[in-house]
Amino acid sequence: MGCGAQPPSDVSALVEVDELRVRFGADVEAVRGVSFSLDAGDTLAIVGESGSGKSTLAHCLVGLIQPPEASGSVQVGGHEMLGADPATLRSVRWSTAAIALQGAPFNPVATVGAQVAEPLRDRFRTSRSKARRQASALAEEVALDPSLLDRYPHQLSGGERRRAALAMALALDPQLVILDEPTAGLDSATRRDVVARVRALADQRGFALIVISHDLPDAAQLAERVMVLYAGEAVELGDTRRVIGEPAHPYSWALVGAYPVMSTTKDLRPIRGRAPDPRLVPPGCAFHPRCTQAESVCRESHPDLVESRRRLVACHFGGLKELLRAIGISKFFHGGDHEVQALDQVSLTVNEGESVGLIGPSGSGKSTLARILTGHLAPDSGRVLLGDVELEASWRGGAARSLRRRIQLVMQDPNDALSPRLTVEELVREPLDVDAVLDSEARRGAVAEMLDSVGLPCSGPFLDARIHELSGGQMQRVALARALVLRPKLLVADEPTAMLDASEQARMLTVLRERQIEMGLGLVLVSHDMAVVRKVVDRIVVIDHGRVVEEGPSQQVSVVPSSLAARRLVEAAPAFVALTELTDRQHCDERST
């Protein structure tokens, strides 16, 4: 039951939760077996989407939910909260563990000041005037104007009420403060203030803090450790920097990608599918219907929270699977009597569902690498592994061919990539014809579905058109539909928008991203255009003269590049002058805070 980041200690842990389960009614399991511990002075953020069971968990910590709904064990300050008698609960609440509930609910017929002082008066029988003085002191600590204490709750703004709730929680100087959605619904400036205040107070008073939030960035700023909840159970638990910076569980990764933050240049990445109805939680791993790397074991058996990648992850594969790994790829081309080295010991990794941008100037070797990754060119040295199977250089054999089908290539010039003799329908159907698994009716359906998904007409005369009747953008989308019809795991797009004009380029990139998310594909996008790449990819790998010169998250490489090649590419990338000034200013502001 220990957590990887902390030494196991039963006696000194402030909070010890073991196999907590909460069931409402006959069929709603809000919490399905959560275990964690928290030492004095530590901070933990519990994050997840609405309905993941976070608030329910918080309520259990202060004994607001009792058996028979709750089962398992919740120990706070050495006291077992589940099944405790009222006296024990009273002694723990407010003085050991205090909670600021979601939405800062106050009694509307009493003044804020009276309510903030309530714990003091209740526990220590303090006189009204003394309590009032202490409440004012508390208000000042939470940066709340003490004169507001004489007002009624409805006369305070949301931020002020939150602070009042915080003051109330701090009244008896508890060892554990639980904040349930402290920043929800606040504007960004207020949010920033609340976060800063809480951090300062935690430092000063030294209490342990549990922050419950659906807002990942805020939670990340407040806690050293984070626990990601999905459908009532923990899927990842570890160091905040690790979990947010390099999420291991597919859900954590998807969650991080779904948040709009200034530090990401990439477009939002919605998580496909929907959070499950608590009455109908999927069997096995609850996330498997939305997971891009799910296999049959994920449906059949439930993964435990185990140590993996220096944190705890609940996944049969220990977290995101590696989809493609190229190791030490070198390639030489012989031209007459001299030899050109196109690639020199290049290594590249792509995880499931991840998109990687391969960027470099012309002649850097990126197209060569794209061809080697898709098996159309054999490297002179090095290996390419798809999952854990090595890609052979030869095409012979059924096994090699079925492996090849899982990586597809979209080429730069659709005029070359599509046969002029075939109709649109025949073109998109070709991979299915080669595969020869589906019957012709099913093939037609698959073709129509794919064409529709890339935004092209899926019936009528368009299907009988030939490529010379189509625009560049339409042709490239046909090529994309063709590449996707076999549902590959990885797509390599070699300068897919180079031959398209601006509007078609935007459309193509949008479609590419959308398809990637929906189908859970890995994507390698090869380009010379930094502006294009950074909108689409999670990570950027910079190649120059056949070598990898820089690698990192897209916001890092595209905004503060360290290598010369990357800097040149950033400068060369097209930009509207006024917009760059704006973003520069925003980045300066961000860096200074």
């Binding site: 095409w395 290539l409 070709e430 010379h468």
Partner: protein, 278 residues
Amino acid sequence: MSSATHRSRLLHVGLTLLGVVVLVAVFAPLLSSHDPKAISGPALESPSARHWLGTDNPGHDIFTQAVFGARVSLAVGFIAGSLTMLAAILVGVLPALTGGFADRSASRAVVVLLALPGLPLIVLIGSLAGDSRLSVISVIAFIGIAPNARILRAQALTLRQRGYITAARGFGGGPMYVLRRHLVPGLAPLVVVGFVNWAGLAIGLEAGLAFLGVGDPTGVSWGLMLNRALNEQSIYFSGMWTWWVLPPGLAIALTVLGFTFVGVGLEPTFNPRWLRAT
């Protein structure tokens, strides 16, 4: 008149011409009652009810010869055309697809063949090869190999580099699939058009060779008819040429024209962009 309609009219005219020739060849025995090789009447007789185009020097019926000659011409055209294209595929396409040593040697062989002068060569080989019709056909087929192989090889090389071939391999298509689905349709138009053109040329060449005395002197062919006609010294002085020279000459011309028209007319069928662009 637009190009497309023009071409399709040519196609129709060509097909009609060839159709007539084919019908004549097929129904030859029904069209004439004489045996082309038998002496059926007095020599050099003018056209009459019994001999529609008169008789030649030894006394054969000219009309019968003309009609049966169609069979020879068509056979020569068809066989020579097929042999040429088959050889051109073997020499031009297969090496280009496999590459390497085979490709290099084949392309050098083609270059050498192209350098040789056609007609003198054909006459030389023909006269040396002997008198059988088969050797004539072989010789005609032989000189057609190089130009067709060059065209087919160029197309095969172009096709092989195309992105959609790469893509097809990416879907798991093996070499046989690529051949069947992409290479054959890409080369077939050239093969068909080449066949049609060369068949026409072959007919003309055969006629020419027969005219020059190369080939089977006992056979029945338009060229041989011309050979005999022009050996007759008084052919032009008596108006004999109208019923002895003109018919076979016209037959040759119209047949070759028919093949050519079909060849030209077929092109749009195989080139979709051309079809729609016009």
